[in-house]
């Protein structure tokens, strides 16, 4: 079967091209095929991988425009393989995930301070079990259309991770996290849902962002678009509660 791969190098000068490969792939994963091409035909073909078993999240690419893990996806004849979007391509299928992953820090997506309650029940654990499974593959980040207009958007995986910690009963600084996602965060998401079907771990960043919005609402935050659209707040004669 034929497989096309979008390649890019900056050495010695910038060269971008789609290269077609004829491959014999009986039931092989895309990663196996890439390895076959690299080890037998073209040692310069560059892609990243690690665990080969959908655990490490380092092998995500786009297949016909849809984000997939190379070590899971079994390509079909005529498929086009491209690097993830919204990140700088370093070489061929390898992208620079540095900036994307820094959004985790900007969004305070970590456990900060233990609350007084450190007892975790089975139910507590279940509340953010799915979100805890994120492997930082960047698929959702690549699928998100917001980056066409706002390169500083905190993005789906960082926001999902914030929700993971906000819902953690052991977390003592949820309010700080909610504050950190107000700018370039939850209100910039269009709730388009593109990030949901591409997640290999069954996480739905869109729903988590929606939950963060509700939670923010109960803490007195509101959508800045809404407030500016109505003259900068609730100052239009509405009864105050």
């Amino acid at each position: 079967m034929k497989l096309s791969i979008r390649r890019k190098t900056t050495e010695p000068t910038l060269r971008e091209e789609v290269v077609e490969y004829e491959v014999d792939a009986q039931d092989a994963t895309l990663l196996e095929i890439l390895n076959e091409i690299k080890t037998t035909r073209d040692t310069t073909l560059t892609f990243s991988s690690g665990c080969r078993s959908s655990v490490c999240g380092s092998c995500a690419v786009r297949v016909n425009g849809v984000e997939k893990l190379s070590c899971v996806c079994k390509p079909k004849d005529g498929d086009l393989i491209e690097p993830l979007r919204n990140m700088e391509v370093i070489r061929d299928l390898v992208v620079d995930a540095e900036k994307a992953q820094q959004f985790n820090a900007k969004a305070h997506a970590w456990g900060s301070k233990n609350s007084t309650n450190t007892a975790v029940s089975q139910d507590d654990e279940k509340r953010n079990e799915v979100q805890s499974d994120c492997i930082l593959c960047g698929s959702c980040f690549s699928a998100c259309p917001v980056y066409e207009t706002n390169s500083e958007f905190l993005g789906p995986f960082a926001l999902t991770r914030v929700w993971r910690y906000v819902t953690d009963v052991r977390e003592g600084e949820s309010a700080d996290k909610i504050a950190a996602v107000q700018t370039n965060g939850i209100w910039d998401c269009t709730l388009c849902g593109e990030c949901v079907p591409v997640c290999p771990q069954g996480i739905a960043p869109k729903s988590d962002i929606d939950m963060l919005r509700s939670k923010s609402g109960t803490m007195g935050y509101m959508d800045p678009k809404f407030s500016s659209g109505f003259g900068g707040g609730l100052d239009f004669g509405a009864p105050s509660f």
Binding site: T43, T46, S48
Partner: protein
């Protein structure tokens, strides 16, 4: 010391040719290990594999990476990993050959009994004047 060794090795790679395909050798290494250095092993087969591994280590300067790029060169990374793999392969083999007994997952069909007198000990591998040696330390 290790850092200096590694730097020298990487500098040296620039002069390596690629007459021999290290990916083919890597595959061969995997196969001969699978067949001869699994749970069931014997001295003669281990020694044959050791010869092959030592030969590969000698040939390493002819197996250099063909991708000369300075950007995200995974061909170079895989070559360095292959060099490390061969070093570990030799250590595993010398350890398995020196341990003339069977113990746990090390089953020597030519020495099926456990021998606590000689081998109830840790295997310590080290280079003495460039030669790989194994001691059993209780």
């Amino acid at each position: 010391m290790q850092l200096v060794n590694d730097r020298n090795f990487i500098d040296g790679i620039k002069a390596f040719t690629n007459r021999i395909d290290f990916y083919e050798k890597r595959e061969l290494l995997g196969n001969i290990f699978y067949d001869n250095v699994g749970i069931r092993r014997n001295k003669a087969a281990l020694e044959t594999v050791l010869d092959t591994v030592r030969q590969m280590r000698k040939e390493l300067p002819f197996m250099g990476p063909s991708d000369k790029s300075k950007i995200y060169n995974t061909n170079l990374v895989e070559f360095i990993e292959f060099g490390n793999m061969l070093e570990l392969a030799e250590i595993i083999l010398v350890g398995a050959i020196s341990r003339n007994e069977s113990r746990g997952a090390h089953f020597r069909s030519d020495a099926p009994q456990r021998n606590d007198d000689a081998y109830a000990a840790h295997t310590i591998s080290r280079y003495k004047e460039g030669v790989l040696c194994v001691d059993f330390i209780k």
